[in-house]
Structure formats: structure tokens, C-alpha cells
Subunit: 509 residues, 4 copies
């Protein structure tokens, strides 16, 4: 449970702790709700987000929207006004159940103490059944300290874990790997599908993504949606005659934007298993010597050459590719990578490999800025409670960090050993260097994209007792990252000053 | 105009700058919208908040809700998806106009480039006419870089007049002061009404607020709402037979919760002028020697004695009263005080006097946490552009500061000389000291209200080039505040470590 | 109170009757809500509409929308599910308070029996204060038969009648008449403003409406909105340089679409009184011999000539003008005219004079079809209870009648002596004659606008014991109308078969 | 396509006709939308409902709500204001897409003419994929007569497959019958599940419904929801230890209110086929000689005895049971029965057998009054176009008939040979006889449940050229029904006057 306490839900947090639920107090409900939703993705069971009435709940709407778009389960619990003050202008009175409607699968207020268990059960169950998403439960302020006989409650059912969607979420990794290896097909992961099969798998064609999409004549789509992330499945990014075999849990998703040649409705895992059986039975295998493979492989090689050339530049200030190249070399294979930002997330996605499913969290389908630190805190809290020995690394653009930077205090307070890396180019998309900045300021207004040059985000971490490191060179970066990765007692923030004019993704890639 | 740029509204920000509108880039749309709304309160004309689609807009809903509750004008402008991608799963696609309905007086999307001026005119006009509030205008992404013949536009009207509400907002200060002084009546300001008449005015009975409310037999209500802030106007906080003369611009507010003996519908200023004329004509004056005055004065004296006793304690760690006592002594009379927090705001309101109208901004009617830094930035931006020589002082609880602490970077970036004072008691409501904290952590979970003890919020300010000062004693506090107030080049943050168990407001007051 | 009983609100209707409230049971909640809203217009106090849960309430939304657009007060009371079944799939469970949001000024559910009086008070007050409109109160099913101590209720306030809008609604007729006569200005009523001054007043220029709008250089607008009904106040229907003096109760209405030269915010009556004082003081009078008056008068004369020529045609089947001409001759001056339909309402508006304010109700600002019989029932119920001796005449197009024709049973059941006149042209806009109909049917599908030729709507009235009359000629029409107007015991329906190809409004008028 | 034409959608109706779509013009959008939704249930493909802007659309919301609750596909197409008049107070301007949100699965406006095909495709597909429901498409008025190059459209996909829910809707009848007969299990149909297996099947225990629910220890639930219609699956109507095997297409429905012992997610047909295979493989059969069967059979016999006794009474006025007994004897086995009302529907459901799936339509899950005539018109229109020779019989309570009685004109206009039977007890639930009515009227107000005694609904049908018959005795009823059933040229209405105090369902049944 993540949240911020206040009237009227302070006792709810304490009761949760007393019942053995871990409560993590955050600094803004916005980040708290992003954190809670990440729990759902990582564990398959919804985290809870506890917020106060009115503005507290409204701050959490971003998290609900993002969870719904990502199909992640989360349950938000909001305190609300005392019922006998409703319509009278109560403290933070707001139509909360109604306010959550657009952002949730289920939004309700228990009408009595007796009804709370069954409404909570419905919220939890609905959040994970079918296509997962956000649910909201409103608790009237006057109920918080009221009491009820345990026997008078409708007995709640404990939800059983059920029907997740998406290849990563659906835990279909084993069967998908077998299917890919048996069939010999090339594959392309979506951003958060990275790691279902390792990014360095021989059949992965992520490094030739545009070419692969454009030239494919048949695409087997496992749970991915043909929305903006896949260019709607339409020309000019796709072959107009491409045949799509669409596998999805959600019937309404079938045929969205592009009519599939074949639609297979069902759990990814179940469908992939059946496909695997067919492939095995028929002994079918896509030959490794086709022209298609050659084309992709030569494109992959060409792209690798370009990015390697960029990655080997070590002039200061550094560029994105060099930074990610060295980070990539040092990160453990089983680390959880959280990432957000514009260039930072885009280029980072191509440079930082994932090797395990559900080990990457980013701005997602809704492209939400401000999720990074919340996600990292959630991941670290899970790791802490499960003692898995996995690192959580949070790779942030400098603008992205600003959305929830105060949450480093939360990391310090709970001794969560997150390694935050801020790839700092002094702005949104790109900024300017200190001298240009000074000149521009004297002449008048700075451009809207500019942030303070060389801002010391590392000092923010130090302010709360974490490790803060400022790096400008490859050596400093490597040494800072090694140091941070070796420390399990407290969080670190590595502030990597890069060239503010560092190019966005290379145009030929 | 406050906001965060990104696709698709980056060019809107640049065009605004080109048109001479000052653009302030913030770190989270949440704080940006709080800032924009404060412009409306301070200047009487709406500020603009510019946000990207989807999550960017959703982050701004808190600011719209708060503005609406406070009856402050603000216009939010949101970019949205390209129209030809709607329903196809466009980037950050969301029903934005609909999402803003609950939070606004007017929410619309111009159907064409030609319609933009008239929709903006409606939004600006609606935001300030009648009871002011939030308005939303949605700009489809594909419109941003499209062009239109200037002549083909419907010619927009420039809004001409407006009808603000509330005594502070309505600029009724001159006539209200005359009315009070002519009539000799005691008065009690609501939190943001502080300063309409000076807090140290002889007729102000704020220091005996509870007693004054309870014993009044007639109350003349100038624009204040009988909601939770005034205990709904009902017993046990009010005399059940109290007669209320209600003056309000908004007909629907009349009789809300309590039926007024007399309802005067109209502009505060106009009504107060008419009342003043009556009082003058009749030569009526409330005698200064009534029992009612004696009761109030003796209660005021008693309360003053209690708070003075508390304020004179200078043992370290300090208590709230001592801190506010010394701050109060040093603040210039014309400074703008922004404040939020629980104890910090409550006690601060009684200890920090206001002498001028519209010089106080706080969590307001909606009790919103997270508004402080945005409000302060807005106030400082106004001061900077008007060169008034007034200081902006932002008095924050430590938890409150966390909601938008990263905005100190914004202050530094724009060289806004805000003086932020964090009254730091290590938690929400109250925290624990470092030793207790360590012990509790070893034993298990910390209480939900606790934050990191002695967190160095001052270092956060220093990270971005501002002045950061940590103070524990009266001397340090005075010297830090004097130093900060003397610097007009950059913001300061004074981190005042107080006794984590420092009492909440004294029970007898 | 109008409505349809059922679970769970049957006892509410009975309790209302026991408390002396007249309950009129209707046949569809749609018509019931239109009826209830008309009470608000006619009497200035809101009628109530009582509906069952789910679909019953949804059927009433049209009435709420229409009331809100017309600025008429109405209070809808909806039963809802038992609270302990909420979220479980209760009978007709629906988020009713939320569903009414878009259609109301106030929508709430009392949280307890004790809260009912104060929520009802808020609904009633809000419906009439400021700009009137619809309010919704939700009554949980389990509250209906529950009991409460009378003393435990929050004491409700009785709303005082307050601030209506519009010249008709605002009861400004006396002062407006004096103003017009003193100033000598020509005037033009909006559809439901007809009768504030008599339509046959020497200064009325309704018969030259288009010309008057187009040539005016100054317009004094009393509460009318510059929406579609007044062509938005824009060219080509208005002089582009027209100066508008806008008088309105609602600040947000000021400057809507056109910037007024002068905006006068306030009650119509009060403002008109002040204007009258100025005109009198200055002895100003608009001369009767201006070119403007000549232009208008010659246009009026020309139009009168055209319509007289049409009205004098008595060939069978009749045309609209002849029908309305004879109806007009026979209707008493103080009758209440309800009207809806396309041609029937449009042409009828120009041909049927009103002589008294609030004596005309039609499809209104929202152009709602289906309102006629409900409005007529409401008007007749008011007349019955006040024994005023005024007739209620309901002039319906045949398509319009079909929306709520079953409500003639309601008229019969309550012995409401409404005279319904169906001007029957066999279709929407226009239909075809019987022979064409038969031919078309044999050939395939009939056009979407066609209804059954010569449908016997009169027989529908007879089915329930009312008088039904079929007329085709002038003589039959006059005799049927005279007979109907002489009968105060029961309703009549005169089915006037006119030429299905009868022209729409004459193009030169 | 059902609807009512007007501005701006009249040309849409004509274009639909030109494209070969049958258009049925109704008398109220409320009934039109109920009709359109029934098409979806009967044919498995959505009907369309075409409505004008503002009130026209609002009248259709009831139909959308009912369709959504019943999980029936329907596509509502609404005209809206011209885009260039939006926000200016256009004719019937309303936020229509937003207004439909609560009542639909998908609600959108195409942003351009080019986008219309793909938005319609999404609406149609979404209405039938997954759990079916209502979809809304908004067409801006100015688009109606605009033109576009055919080639510039995004090519729409024709939806290909679909996943209906419920045993009746899912066309699982063949396999379910085999399953029941192979397994020997007793079964109980839900109201609209009647006919999936014939009501007179040896294993049907509908006549002992309460007993069957209460005593079952295992329930196999095929697509039925455990909502109010099944008493939430909870005590006291169910054994608290009952084990439920829940088969549903919709994951979120699983475990709603009661945790199933087994949850089988999938198409009813597919799951039933698998269960049948298991039963066959194992040779399992529920013995016919169990105590359970004896109990149910003796209860069935007892109930049959009671209802037979009631049905054999032929004293005038008749009671419900007698009326239904004779109707039942005369109806052809393949007729489609539409029914609504309180007692009429409840008792009729037990007395009127269904023998084929999807041959019964009634007030449904949402308990909507006013659906009957629309449903009957839809069913008759389908029969007319398919020439199946099946009768449509519409059994209405008298109050229920009043909601949409004017639609008999529609039946007459289109020569749809529906047999409407109004079971007329002079009121809602129950009324009073004529003498009592007169006495009550003289004394003051009639009870809210009373309608006009012996109202001649048959005359309403005659008014439009249909056959109207008034019956009071068994002989009259039988003869009228035989006559009506023999006429395929026009509709009939049999007005059956029954005892107004005729008992509701027998308490022991």
C-alpha cells in the first residue's frame, strides 16, 4: 500500500500496517498511485493506493489512467467527507466515485461498514479479471473509526489470480521462447514486452525494428495492440498487404484498426501452447537462410555499426550512446530497469537489454511522464520483501526526474537501494549549455524546453542521506555505477551531464 | 502562462512567448496549474496553464478543481491527439473535454482553427464573469502547426468587465474598511480574506475566533460561504438563533445551510457601499463599551498571553509559536505570504499578520496540499514583471513541501527571489526525532506520518544554486531570514528544525 | 407532482397526496418530466417529477435537459436501489446522481433520512435561485419505508422566491410595457416571450421579424440569449455594426457571441425600471415618423397581405394559414397556448397571438419534441387548482402528437379540459395523401417523413372518453373548436386534416 | 434502422434506404431505440437507431441503457449541431458523445468524413465483440450533406466473428439440450433464457423455481448473472453452502457476489460441448430417482394444481391465470412472445411456454417499462423481411402499454401483423373498478396506481386501421385471439378486461 495519510484515512494506514500490509508513505499522491500500479504489473496482484479526499484523490487520477491504459491492476482507496456533511460544503467534498469513472473499471462506495469487504473484493477481483485495470473504493470519513460486528459482514471471497493479458504480464515466457526457437521465426518485442525473450536472443530483430515492421508479410501478434506504439498497423510503416494473426484476451481489441487474417481469442499462454503444438506436430520451421532473414540481419549489422561508432565516442560532454553503452555493460542481467524521458527512454530502450520478463517498466502506452521514481520504489519494495537480490535501476531524463524528484526522500526513508541515473541534457528534448543559458537569460526569455544547466540532481539525493554522484566522463560514469551497484544499504543518484545538443536517435536507425 | 512543453504543444509555448506572454516552464503540470490559478487570484485576470495531452492534462485537474473551489479564474489549454488518429489508439488519446467537465465552468474544443479565437474568448470571459472558476480549451494536435487566414476568423471580443466574488477578490477593501470603522463593528476575516482589513486592526477579533462565532447574535457575511471553514454556520459552533445577513454575488449561495435573515445579492463592493451610506445617513455606530466587546477583548487578551508565553520559549528544538513569532517580526508588512501544511498553516495563520488584501494564499477552501510552491512562483513572477518590490514568502510544512519540492529548480531557473521557509517537524502532523526513528526502523515499520528526520530540504535548494539554510535556534532563524530577505537575486530556503512533538494549536485558543 | 409510481417510490406518491400535494400519474416518465417542468415556468415554483429507479429516471432526462436549457425550475425525485444491494446487481441499479449531472444544477442523494429535508431544500432553492434549472434528489429504496424522529432532522429552510430570469419569467411585464410605451420603441418578442406585451400591440414588429433584426442599429436585449433562436446575433441576419445593450441576470451570458455595447447585469424588472426612470426623466421618445418605422410598417403590411390571402383560401384540404386564422379568431385572449411541431409551431407562432405573459409554452430553446401534452396537462392542472377560468389549448403537429399521444388518457383520467388541436399533414415536415401513400407502399418503402395518412388521432381521445372530432373544412373546424371550448368537463381533440403538401412558411415572410 | 427523422439526419435515413437498409420511422426515439436493440438480440447483429440532436438523443438513452444491461448489441447514430456553431448556442447543442458514455461501450464522433467508415466499423464491432452492448456514433450536422472522395477513406473492415453471451444469445441450444438430456440434470431457465430448452421439457423445474434454487447443492450456471434476478445467489433464497460452477464469457462476471467452486471462462457453446464430452466419456448420469427429483416433482405438481385451479375459474371479470391459460393454448409454438408489465409479465412468464430459443423478449435485466411495442415492431420487421411465418405476440400490462402505445400507428403504417394483448386491470400493479373509481374521484384524488377503468386501448389500434377487440370472457378472448392470429395483413390489439383486484402471483408458488 502506497499513499499519503491525512484526514480521514490516517487510521486506515495504521490498520493496514497492523494487518501486516506494508505501507509506504510517499510525497505526492501522483507518485504514490504510479507506485501502487507498478506492484500490479510486477506481482500480478494489485497494489493499493491510499489517498485523502478531494485533491488527494484527484492527484491519483493520473496513476489510475496510466494503469488502465497499461492494463495493470491497481486498487485506489480514497477517504471522503463525513456523510452527514455531504452537500453542505464539507472539507474536501467532491463526487469522488463519479470522478473516478473515466479512469477505472469499477468505482463504488460501500453503503455501510458491513458492505466494505464485498466492495473491496469486487474491486480487487475486477482489477485483475479480464483485462486488468484500475478500481476505486470510496470510504466515507465517518466510517473510518466506526465499528461493526465481524459476523454481520457479508463474507468476502478471496479472489483467485486469473486472466492477465499481454505476453509479459501473462507469464507466457516459457512457451513463447519454445515457440520462437522451434519455429525459427524472428521476433520483435514491444517496449514493455522486452525481456519475455532475451533482447540478445538470436531471433530478436529489435535492432531492425522499422525494417522488420515494413517488410513483414505475416505478423503474429501476441497481445500487443495496434495503436500508436505500433503505428496503428497501417502503411506507410506496414506493408499494406500484411496478414496479421492476432492473439488477444480481449475480444474488443480484435480487428482494431486492422482486420486480422486470423483472430485467436484467449490467454496468450494457452494460445501459444496450442500454436507450439501445431508447429511441433507439423515439424514446421522457418528457414534461417531466407532473403528476409538476410535483409534483417544486414540491417541489424548496419545499425549496430552506427550505434557502436556513437557509443565509442568518449569526448566530453558525452552523448547518449556512449552513456548507455557503458551502463549496459555494467548492469546485472537480472536487474529491473525503470525508464522515462524522451530521448533517454527512446535511445535507452534500444541500448539497454532486458533478459527477463517483467523486468522493464517505462512511460508505457499512455506515455506518462512522472512514473519513474514511483515505479522504482514499488519495484524496490517488492525486491526488499522478497529478498531476491535483484537491483532496481531507474534511468531518467532530467525533465522526467523533475516530475517526482522529491520521492528520493522516500527511497532514503525506507532505505531502498535504487540506483537512479539521470541522463542530464539540461532540458526537455534538449537544452543549452551554461554559457548559452547565461547569454539567453540576459537577452530575455529562455526557450520553453530549457531547464537549469548542469542542475545538481545528485545533491537532491544527498540532501536525504543517499549517495549522489556527478559524472561527466566515461571513467566517472563507470566508477560511479560500480560503486552504486555495490551498495545495498541506500539509494544512489548518478547525475550524468551529457552534451545538451546530443543527437536524438540516429535518423538511419 | 505556466506549463510543461512536449508534443503537441511545444510550438504553442513558443508562439506565446513571441506574442509577449511570459511563459514559465514548471516541473510537474500539477504545480503548473496551481501556479496559473494563483495568477487569477492575484491579478483578477486568468493565468493560462499549458499542458500536453493525456497524463499532462490529468495532472492539471487538481489545479482546476482547486481554482473552481476557490472561485479563481484560470484557463487551461491542453494539446490533444491528432484528429485523424482519434479512436485508433493515438498517442495519449483521452476524452479530454469530458474529463475536465467536473472541474470547470466551461470545457470545449474549437472545431476549427477559425473557431479558436472565439472559444478562447468564451473561456477567458467565463473564467472571470459571474463566480470565477476554471475553463478548459482543447487544441487538437494537428491544429498546432496548421495555418489560417487572419480574416477568416470570427472576430473575438475582448472581455470587458467582470464580477469577482469575495471581499478580497472583489477589491472591496476600501469601502469595507470605512464600513467597519464607521460602524464600529468587530470583524473576523476568513483565511484568504486576511488583509482586506489589517490583521492588527482594532476591530479584528480573529484572536477570539471561536468565541466570536459562538456568541454573535447577528453576522454580516461578506461573500464568505457557510461551509466547513465556518462550521456550516450551525450549532454547536454558532448560536442557534444567530441572524445572518448574507451578501453574495451568487444567488445559489444564498441560504446554503442556514437561512439568512436578509439576503443581499450583488457585488460586495456595491452592497458594502450602500450599507455604508445607510450607516452614515443614520449615524449608527456600535458602541465600544458593550459587554460583547468586553467578552471578546478579554478572550483576545487571554489568548495573546498564551501564545506569547509559547512564543517566548527558546529552548531547542523550537516550537511553532516561537518560530512564527520571530518570522512575524521580520517580515515586511507588504509581503505576500503563501502557506500550506497542517499545523504550519493553522498556527501560522494566527501568528503571521496580513496587512493588505490578496497578500495571502493558502490551501484554501479545498484544503489542497501541493499548492505552495506553485502559488509562490506565480506571485513572484507577478512581482518580477511589476517590479513592486514586494517579497514573496512561502511558509511550508515539511510534508507540504514534498508535494512540489522540485519546483525550487523553477525558482532558481527564473531567478525568482522567493523565501521558502520549511517548518520541519519530521512528519505529517508530527514526526519523531532521529533517535526514535532509528529505533523504530530497527523494530520494523515506521508510522505512516513519519518522514525522514531532519531532512535537508535546504540542500535541495542549494542543488540548483539557491540559498539553503538550516536553522535550529532563534538566532539562526532571525539571521537566516534577514539574509534571505535582503537578497533579490535568487531564492532561499530556510529549513527550520522544530520539536517533532511540538504541540498543535493550543487547546484553549 | 407528476410521475409514474412503482418500486420503490409508490409510497412517496401516497405520502405526497397525504401531505396535500397534488399527484398526477402520467403514462411515460418522459412526459411526466416535461409536465413537471412546465409548472415551474407557469408558477415560478418548481414542480416535482417522481420516477422509479434506472430506466424510469433515464426517461426523465429529456425533461431535465429541456428545463435546464429553458431555465425553468424543476425538482426530479428518483427512487433508487436499496443501499445494501449496491454493486451487487440490484434491481434497476444505476449511478443515478452521476447520470443527472449533465442535466442539472444540483444532483445529490441524502445520506440519511435526517438529511432529506435539507437536501430537498437545497434542490428547491437551487432550482429557482440564480438562473433556474433542474435539480435531482435520489432516494435510496430502503429509505422509503424507514422512519425517523422528526426532531432529529436538520431543520430545513423554506426557500423564498427569488431571482427568475427572462422577461416573461421575471414578471417584468408591467414595467416593460410602460417602458415600450413611454419610449415609443418597436419591440420583438422571442417565442416564449410572446405575451409579455400583447402581440397586437402597436409597437410589436413580430410580423416583420427578419427585417427588424437586419436593419436595427441598436438592440436592447431583455434576457434573451443570442443563440440559434436569434441567429447568434451575427451577420447575415444582423447588421454587423449593430450595438447591443444586453440586460441579463446571468453574468456568464454577457457578451456571448457578440460583445455588447453596454452590459447591464441584474434582474430584468429592476433594470427595466431604472431605464424607464431615465427615459421619463429625460423625456426621451423615439419618434413615430422615422424611416425605420415606415420600413417596418410597410413590411408588416406586406406580410399581413400575404398571410391574409393564404388564410382566406378555404379549398379543402386546408392550408396552415387558413387553419390558424380561424383558430385565432375563436381562442379567448386569456387562453394558454401550448404548441409543438415543425411547421405547426413555426407558422402557428406567427398566426396565434398571445396577449398575456407566460401564456405560451412551446418546444423552446432546446427545440424538444414531445413536450406538448405534458405542458398542457401541467397548465390545465394549475388552472384546475386555481379555478382561473382560462382554457388550455394545445396545438400539435401530427408527428409531435405521436411522442406522447397516450397522455390523452391522463387528461381524461383527471378530467382536464384541454383542447388538443392536431394539425395533421400526414407526416414530419410534410407527408403524402392516401392515394400516393398506397402507391408508394406497393412500390416499396415509404419516405422516412411519412406517417399514416389521415390517421385518426381523434379516435385516440375518444378511446378514453374524451371528445374526438375530425375536421376537414373551415366550418367543421370552427364548429368543433366552439364546441370544445364550451366544454369544461373533459378534454377534446380536433384532428384537422390539412393538405399534406401545404407549404411551409411563405418564403417572402 | 429505426428512428425519427428531422434536422440534421433526414438525409441519413434516405441514404440508408437507398443503400438497401430498411428504415422504420417510429413515434418516439425512446421506442425507436428499444426496437433497434431488439434487432441485436434477435439476429445477433446490431440494429441501428437514428436520432436527431439534443432531446432526440436523450430520448434514446433508455434504449442504450437497457441494451447494455441486457448485453444486446445496438448502434445509435445521432446527428449533432453544425461544428462551426459549437459553443455558440447552436440548435439542440449538447455534449452528445459525453452524454452517451455511461450508457455505451463506445462513444465517439468521427473527426472527418473520411473517418466515418472506420468509426462505424469500430462501433459495430465493439457492439458485438466481447460482451455485447450499445455503441454511439455522433455525426456533426454539417457532415451530412458534405461529400468525400471514396478513395480517401480509410478502408473499413467488415467485422467477422463475434462472441455473444448467455445461453440464448450464444446459440448454444443444441449442445445444452444434449447436455441436459445426457446428464439427466434438472434445469431452470432465466426469463430470457426461456426456450433455449423447451419450457415443457421433462427436466425443466421452472414450476418449482423457488424450491429448486433453495435446495440445490450444486448449480451449473450457463451465462446467467447472480444479480437481483437470481437473488444475488445468496441466502435466504439459496443454500449457503451451494457450490456454483460458473460458465461465462466475461471474466469480470466470475465470482460476482458468490465465489464459484469452479469458474469456466469461455463461450457457452464451447464450454457446454466440453462438459458434454466429459459426461459422455464418463457415462455419468444424474439418477432420476433421487429424493431431490421427488421433492421438485411434488412441488411442481402442487403448483400446477394451484394454477390449474385458478386457470379454470371463468367468472367475469377474469383473473390472470385464466387469461394466460387460454392464451397459452392458442399460441403457436414458434411464436415470438414479447412481454412487459408487473403482474402481467411475472405471471405470464410462468404460464406462457417458450419452445424455441430467442423467442422471448421482456423487460429484462434492467426491468425497463416501455420496451414492449418497440421490441414487437423489431421482431415483426425481422419476420417480415425473412418471411418465416412466425407470429409476434406482445403481451402487455395496461400501464406498460401506455409507455409507447402510440407505436401501434407504426405497426399499422408498416402493416406489421403484431398481436398485442393488453391485460387490463385498470392500473399499475392493480386498479379499481369503474364504480369505485367514480366514488373515489368524487371524494378527491385517486390513488397513484389507478388508471382510467376499462380504458379502450383497442380503440387506439382501430384509430389507425388495425383490428381492435375488447374482451371480457373466456369465449371472447379465445375467439378474438384466433381471429387475430389468422390475420397476416394488419396488427390486432385485444384489450382483456380482468378483475382489477385479481391477485398477484399466488403466494404459495
Amino acid at each position: 500500500m502506497f499513499g499519503i495519510v491525512g484526514v480521514p484515512i490516517i487510521e486506515v494506514a495504521m490498520a493496514a500496517q497492523a494487518a501486516g500490509i506494508r505501507y509506504v508513505g510517499m510525497r505526492n499522491e501522483q507518485a504514490a498511485c504510479y507506485a501502487a500500479s507498478a506492484i500490479g504489473y510486477i506481482t500480478g496482484r494489485p497494489g493499493a493506493c491510499l489517498v485523502v479526499s478531494g485533491p488527494g484523490l484527484i492527484h491519483a487520477l493520473g496513476g489510475m489512467a496510466n494503469a488502465n491504459m497499461n492494463c495493470w491492476p491497481v486498487v485506489v482507496i480514497g477517504g471522503s467527507s463525513d456523510r452527514n456533511q455531504e452537500t453542505a460544503g464539507a472539507f474536501q467534498e467532491f463526487p469522488q466515485v463519479e470522478a473516478c469513472r473515466l479512469y477505472s473499471k469499477f468505482s463504488a462506495r460501500p453503503s455501510s461498514l458491513e458492505a466494505i469487504p464485498s466492495v473491496i473484493e469486487k474491486a480487487v477481483r475486477t482489477s485483475i479479471y479480464g483485462r486488468p485495470g484500475a478500481c476505486y473504493v470510496d470510504i466515507a470519513g465517518d466510517m473510518v473509526n466506526a465499528k461493526v460486528e465481524r459476523n454481520s459482514q457479508r463474507s468476502p471471497n478471496q479472489p483467485v489470480f486469473f486472466h492477465p493479458i499481454g505476453a509479459a504480464y501473462g507469464r507466457a515466457e516459457t512457451v513463447l521462447r519454445e515457440f520462437i526457437e522451434t519455429s525459427g521465426l524472428p521476433f520483435l518485442p514491444t517496449p514493455m514486452g522486452k525481456g519475455v525473450l532475451p533482447d540478445d536472443h538470436a531471433n530478436c530483430v529489435a535492432a531492425a525494428r522499422s525494417r522488420a515492421l515494413l517488410l513483414a508479410d505475416v505478423i503474429l501478434l501476441f497481445g500487443a495492440r495496434l495503436n500508436w506504439m505500433l503505428h496503428f498497423g497501417l502503411p506507410p510503416r506496414f506493408n499494406p498487404n500484411v496478414k496479421i494473426i492476432q492473439v488477444d484476451l480481449c475480444a474488443e481489441e480484435m480487428g482494431n484498426n486492422v482486420r486480422p487474417a486470423v483472430a485467436l481469442l484467449g490467454d496468450i499462454s494457452a494460445v501459444a501452447t496450442q500454436l507450439l503444438m501445431c508447429v511441433r506436430r507439423d515439424g514446421w520451421k522457418y528457414p534461417s537462410n531466407t532473403e528476409w532473414w538476410s535483409t534483417l540481419k544486414s540491417k541489424i549489422a548496419a545499425n549496430a555499426k552506427i550505434s557502436k561508432a556513437l557509443a565509442l565516442q568518449s569526448t566530453v560532454p558525452l552523448n547518449y550512446y556512449t552513456v548507455f553503452h557503458h551502463i549496459s555493460q555494467l548492469l546485472p542481467h537480472d536487474c529491473i530497469i525503470v525508464s522515462e524521458g524522451a530521448n533517454t527512454m527512446d535511445i535507452g530502450r534500444t541500448m539497454l537489454n532486458n533478459y527477463l520478463p517483467r523486468h522493464r517498466l517505462d512511460a508505457g502506452t499512455f506515455g506518462t511522464m512522472g512514473v519513474g521514481l514511483g515505479f522504482a520504489i514499488a519495484a524496490a519494495a517488492v525486491e526488499a520483501s522478497q529478498n531476491t537480490g535483484r537491483r532496481v535501476v531507474c534511468v531518467e531524463g532530467d525533465s522526467a526526474f523533475g516530475f517526482s524528484g522529491m520521492e528520493v526522500e522516500t527511497m532514503c526513508r525506507y532505505s531502498l537501494p535504487v540506483v537512479v541515473i539521470v541522463v542530464n541534457n539540461n532540458g526537455i528534448y534538449s537544452g543549452v549549455d551554461s554559457e548559452t543559458w547565461k547569454a539567453m537569460k540576459q537577452m530575455g526569455e529562455a526557450p520553453p524546453v530549457s531547464l537549469l544547466p548542469e542542475a545538481r540532481y545528485d545533491e537532491v539525493m544527498k540532501a536525504f542521506g543517499g549517495r549522489g554522484l556527478l559524472v561527466r566522463t566515461v571513467e566517472e560514469l563507470r566508477s560511479a555505477l560500480q560503486l552504486s551497484l555495490s551498495d545495498w544499504e541506500r539509494p544512489s543518484l548518478i547525475n550524468v551531464l551529457i552534451d545538451p545538443s546530443s543527437d536524438r536517435k540516429h535518423p538511419n536507425m
